[in-house]
Each structure stands twice: as C-alpha cells, then as structure tokens.
C-alpha cells in the first residue's frame, strides 16, 4: 500500500504525471479494468466474428428502439436529464461531506461502513466479512463494482465460492467467460450456445433441455433456487446510496437481486464512492432516468431499497464497503471527473457505432463502450488503457442519449490530449496502438467504410499493426479530413506529427480543424 501524504495537489496542468500528492490509480494485477491486448488488436479479433456482430446488431437495435419509445413518453425528459446532471455535479463537488453523511446514517441504522482504498483492500474486507459469518458460499447480484475489483477471484483464493445469480452473469460464469455489455452481459451468446453451457456446467439439468429462452430461464430458476434458500451471505453492488437517509438501492429485473438482499442473514454491499446521491428526493429523478435509458422500460421489474438493518425483516448483519480504486484520481481532473457521474445505464453502448461492431470484450474492462473509454483510463492511469480514448469516432451519439448528460466526446478528446501531453513530457511517443485507433475508429464508424477497407486489405493491415505507424497515414488522413469533431490542443499533436514525418503528407493534423461546432443535445 502506498502511503498517501495528504499534501495539497499541485494546481498543475491536467495530465501532469502522478505525484505522491495526487490520488493513486487502481492497482495493477487485480480486477478487470485493463485489457490483455490493446483495443485495435482485440477489436480486429472481434470484427472477424460474424455471429457476434449479428448478435450485437440485433440487441443494440432492439434496445435503442425501446429506449426511444419510452423516453418520448415523458414531456420533461430534458428537465430530468438536467436535474440528473446537476445533482451529480453537486455531489462530486462535495463528495467528502456526502460520504460522511451516508456513513453516519447507515451506522445509525445498525449497518457497518468500511472504506477501501483499492481493489485489494476491498477484496480483503469482503473476504474477512464472509469468513466472520462462517460461510464458504455466497450469492451475488450482478455488480460492476465487484467485477471491477475481481472480487470472485479474491473470494476463490480464500476458498469461498461466489455464485452469480443474474441469468446473464450465470451464463458468463458457467461459460468461463467475460461479460460483454453492462446491461446484457451475455449479449455475445445465442440460445444454443447457452443451452450447451447449461448442459455442460450445471450438473442438475435434464439432458432434454431445449434452447427455448423460457426453458433456459426455468433451468436457471431451479439451479439457483436451492442456493438462494440456503445462502447465509449475499453480496451486492448499489445503484444509489442516499446520504441523507443511509438508504441503498438496487435496480434489477429478475428478482435475483431481491433474493440476495433479502434472504441471507448477512448482506455486504460494495459501492463506488461516486454512487452516493445527496437526498431522498433525488431518487425521484434517477428512478426515472435509469430504467428508461437502460432497458427501455418505464420501470424495471424490481427495485429494492434498504436502510441499515430492519429488525425481523431481511439481513440482520448489513455492511457497506465504500470503494475508491482510482475514483479520486478521476475526481482530480476537472474535466475527466464528469465520467464519475455515470449511472451505468448502458445507453451510450447501444448507440455507439464502434461498440456495435466490436462488442464489449475488445475494451478489456468491465466498463466497455463510450463510458468505458473515458472511465477505465482514468481509473487505471491513461498509459494502462492508452488506446481506449481513441476507440471512438466522436460522432456524439453517446452524449445525446446520456441521461446525466456526460459529454463523452469532450472527455475523449481531453483524455487524448492528456495522453499525448504525458507522453511528451516523459519523452515517450504516444503508443502506436493509440494512434492506430484513430484510424480504426474511422473505419468502424461506418459499415460501408469497414467493408471497403476489409476488401481493400485482406490482411487487415489498414487497422494497423503493433508498432507500424507507417502503414497509417491514408486512413488517418481520411479521419482528420472527414470528422467534424472536437480535437485535442493542436500544438502537441502537430509537434509530434512533424517530428515523425517532417512534412504534412498525412494531411492536416487534427488541430487544423478549428471550425468544429459544439454539439448540442437540446
């Protein structure tokens, strides 16, 4: 554990290197925030999978239409978005105070609050709590925070079996696989693949199981019911934690969340510190924004709220683990901190032309898609996820749908600039993957361009190859010509460009486009 001296941070430039006075990033070697391969490499692999692209296209098209329909029902949708944004910004500006309030309120109601500097510490805390409860098995409700910190691995190392109970998470877990979408983690699996996984892994299903979704859901119900009825420890995340009242809130569809937060004697909730909201009334905003943006429903089937311990009802031992793991590092960036406003609805994934073609695995983090591209690098430090801020065509669709109005294109450009700036000051070049990605995203953004590029180059070289910058100028030039997009500060990129090429043969550098008009979502 590094020692934090609590010194005031330098007012320095965004992108200044991490110094001891700046909050640390999420540690390496634990959890799921970093990719094994840079985005362009992983994306190329995904692009070769036609089945995956069909599944993704069908899924994202369906969810987009559902979302649009239920959003258009509300006459005050824009007012709700504005309120959501304002509440989140105010929360971040006073985060220490709200977390303190939350702690007091939870404690007053018989709950216990724990603080975790990072993934390792959170894993240790949860493991110790499970052991103290005398359990060797836990039931889990789908939670990005626990996936982020690799909690299941930490528990397994201590001999504790963690059972995922969300149907999609169960499919992923039994398939020894990784989630590929925030909301529909098994979006990359079709029904016959799921049937095969169940038959192979469940051990207690009839060999006659069909691939009818209703039959598969029934098999999951039977498989998990025994676990629910006997579980003594439940583990959850939280969509919201209300500072004013100490109330935690889990939003779900299947009822597995209700099972996990109701039936066990001990409940452990792992919540990122950014999930606190100031007041009870704020739920009236977010419980409208989230379901309509997320599943495209007016309301999700089940939402559970609990405040500490309720005698005679539900878990009598209630814990809340507040997790940093790089969030304070994001908070220290005046522009980047907006990524912490995210309520994980996944609307930005479903509208993203890059996500629709690559799927979530290519992003290498539990946070895929546009939000992942701006959140993961801030949690890990940009150098560890350097290609992600380039995994976008900056088309702006994500900003238009975001229920809390996170200006993701602006954040992407900001992080690209930070990356280049950091590299310049440390006399390194921006990674080849990052620059390659600028070209790749141009191709990914449009099926026609992609097809043309693929037929033009059977070897796939247009998407770049590690370390081969020279293959890139044509698509990169096209990108710089064609995109009406926000751009990084021109000097650093141009300086780098000239140092590499000595002329403008790659076309005007992005900084030459000064005519961008600010996107407006009004």
């Amino acid at each position: 554990m590094t020692t934090f001296l609590g010194l005031p941070g330098r007012p320095g430039r965004p992108g200044s290197r991490q110094s001891p006075s700046e909050p640390p990033h999420a540690p390496r070697g634990v959890g799921h925030l970093r990719a094994a391969d840079p985005f362009p490499v992983a994306a190329r692999r995904a692009l070769a999978d036609a089945q995956l692209r069909r599944n993704l296209s069908k899924a994202t098209t369906t969810i987009r239409a559902k979302r649009a329909a239920v959003v258009s029902e509300l006459p005050d949708w824009e007012e709700l978005r504005a309120a959501g944004e304002a509440i989140k910004a105010a929360t971040m500006a006073d985060l220490d105070r709200y977390l303190g309030q939350l702690e007091v309120a939870v404690t007053a109601r018989g709950g216990t609050v724990h603080w975790a500097r990072d993934a390792i510490e959170a894993g240790n805390i949860v493991t110790a709590l499970v052991q103290a409860a005398g359990a060797t098995e836990v039931v889990k409700v789908k939670s990005l925070a626990t996936d982020e910190i690799g909690l299941n691995d930490a528990l397994a190392a201590a001999g504790i079996a963690a059972y995922e109970t969300d149907l999609a998470e169960l499919i992923v877990q039994l398939g020894h696989d990784r989630p590929s979408h925030i909301l529909v983690p098994a979006i990359h699996r079709n029904r016959s693949e799921i049937r095969d996984i169940f038959l192979r892994e469940m051990g207690d299903v009839s060999p006659d199981l069909t691939d009818d979704p209703a039959a598969l859901a029934e098999a999951a119900r039977q498989h998990l019911r025994r676990k629910f009825l006997s579980a003594t420890v439940g583990i959850s995340g939280a969509n919201f934690g209300v500072a004013e009242t100490g109330t935690l809130c889990v939003v779900e569809s299947e009822g597995n969340g209700r099972m996990c937060v109701t039936l066990p004697q001990t409940l452990i909730t792992v919540m990122g510190i950014e999930k606190v909201i100031p007041s009870w009334a704020d739920l009236g905003v977010f419980l409208q924004l989230l379901p309509r943006s997320s599943t495209g429903e007016r309301m999700n089937p089940y939402t559970s709220m609990w405040t500490g311990v309720t005698p005679g009802d539900g878990p009598q031992s209630v814990h809340l683990v507040l997790l940093d793991n790089g969030r304070t590092a994001a908070l220290a960036d005046p522009v980047g901190r907006a990524a912490l406003h995210c309520i994980r609805c996944s609307a930005c994934l479903n509208v993203c032309p890059v996500y629709e073609r690559t799927g979530g695995h290519a992003y290498g983090s539990v946070y895929p898609g546009p939000i992942g591209a701006v959140l993961s690098p801030q949690l890990t430090g940009i150098e560890d996820n350097a290609s992600l801020p380039y995994a976008s065509s900056l088309c702006g669709a994500c900003y238009d749908v975001c229920p809390v109005k996170i200006n993701i294109p602006e954040l992407l450009v900001h992080l690209r600039a930070r990356h280049v700036e950091e590299a310049r000051r440390t006399h390194r070049l921006p990674s080849a993957e990052a620059i390659t990605m600028a070209a790749a995203s141009y191709l990914l953004a449009d099926p026609g361009r992609l097809a043309a590029a693929q037929s033009a180059s059977r070897s796939g070289r247009l998407l770049g190859r590690r370390g081969k910058i020279t293959a890139l100028p044509p698509p990169l030039a096209a990108w710089t010509r064609a995109r009406d997009a926000p751009v990084p500060p021109p000097q650093t990129f141009r300086q780098w460009w000239h140092s590499q090429h000595g002329d403008d043969r790659g076309g005007p550098a992005p900084g030459d486009r000064s005519d961008r008009s600010d996107r407006s979502d009004q």
Partner: protein
Amino acid sequence: MSARDEVLARIRAAARTGAGKAGTASSPAAPSPGPRYRTRSELAGPQLLELLASRLTDYRALVHFASAATLADEIGAALQRRQARRIVVPPALRLPLPSFVTAISDTRPFLSPAGLAAVDGVVTRAAVAIAETGTIVLDGSPGQGRRAISLVPDYHLCVVDAGQVVHLVPEAVARLSAGRPLTWISGPSATSDIELERVEGVHGPRTLEVVLVSG
C-alpha cells in the same frame, strides 16, 4: 492513516485540483429554484386508475377493478382461478379471504424460505402505486409484511386502494419513508438476457395480480 481518513483526504485533495465547472466545495450553495421536472400530478382519480391499470397490464400483470362491495368476490375469484389453497399473508392483512384457502399469517416464528417456497401464493396490500410507470411499492407495513413473503412464493395478489395511487415517480418518493425496507414492483419478474427475448419469471413471483379498489 485509516482507509477512511485516507480516502477522504484524497477526495479533499482532488477537490482542490479538480474543482472545475462544478465549482468548489467552499463555494456558497446556489439558491435552489426548485425542480423543473414534474412533481405534481395532472390527472384526476379515475384517469389515474385507468393509467395504472393499462401500464400494469402492459408489463403483463393481471389487473381487476373492485369496489368495497365486490372486493371479497374479486379476491375469491382470483384465488380460485389460481387454484391457490395455502396462502401466506402479512400479520395485518385485514382483507376478506374465501373459505377455501388456508391463510398462514407470517408472524414469529417466521416461515423459513423453504417454507415460503411451499405455499401457493401470497396476498398483500401496498403502500403506494405509481400510475405512469405501472409500479406498486411495498414498504413492509403490517398489511404487507416481510420482504421475503412477497418474493419467494410464485404468485402475488396485491390489493391497492385508489387513495394510494399517485401519477408520478417523484410523488411516490415524497410519500414513502426511507426508513422502511422498500420493494418497487413493476410487473412480474422478467429477463431479456437470452437474445433479448422477454421471459416472465426467473426468480420472483411469476404471476402478479392486482386488484384496484375504489369507492
């Protein structure tokens, strides 16, 4: 330094370097103009009930209307259709149940989860219902009982009084008490995890039936 103090110190340090557009922690709070989204209903009573019924039905709940005079008949008919014989009920349900059911009151010693799984269903009241979203909220009052009783059985019959129905989500939030364990229910349990095909009922009650009582 404890983890708590360290995380809080990091936040304060970040606030100093990171305070951007959002202002700083020390800036005076802007006067609040009050919410600009809808917080009050525009609908009258009968319209509210119609909207609630249509939204509940849209999410595959079964809905019936009743008056005080016909309530017992509606409840009896629903339980008969369901062939429900053993029913768990909260400690103070105060509703007329047909003679063919055995009502098990959920008082101490409570039924175990396995015991709850063995009954034919549960009958409860509600705290609030939200017409615009087709949502019923339970708050654990004596007419609704522990959260587990409306979760484990496969059938949930919920009786909602007209006076409990609001139009908007913020109206419901204002009526509810944070101190109570809350369950918001919008249609029966569902999943779309397999090729986005909606399937009713994974873990919660697979059938939700609502009786709306007015007059």
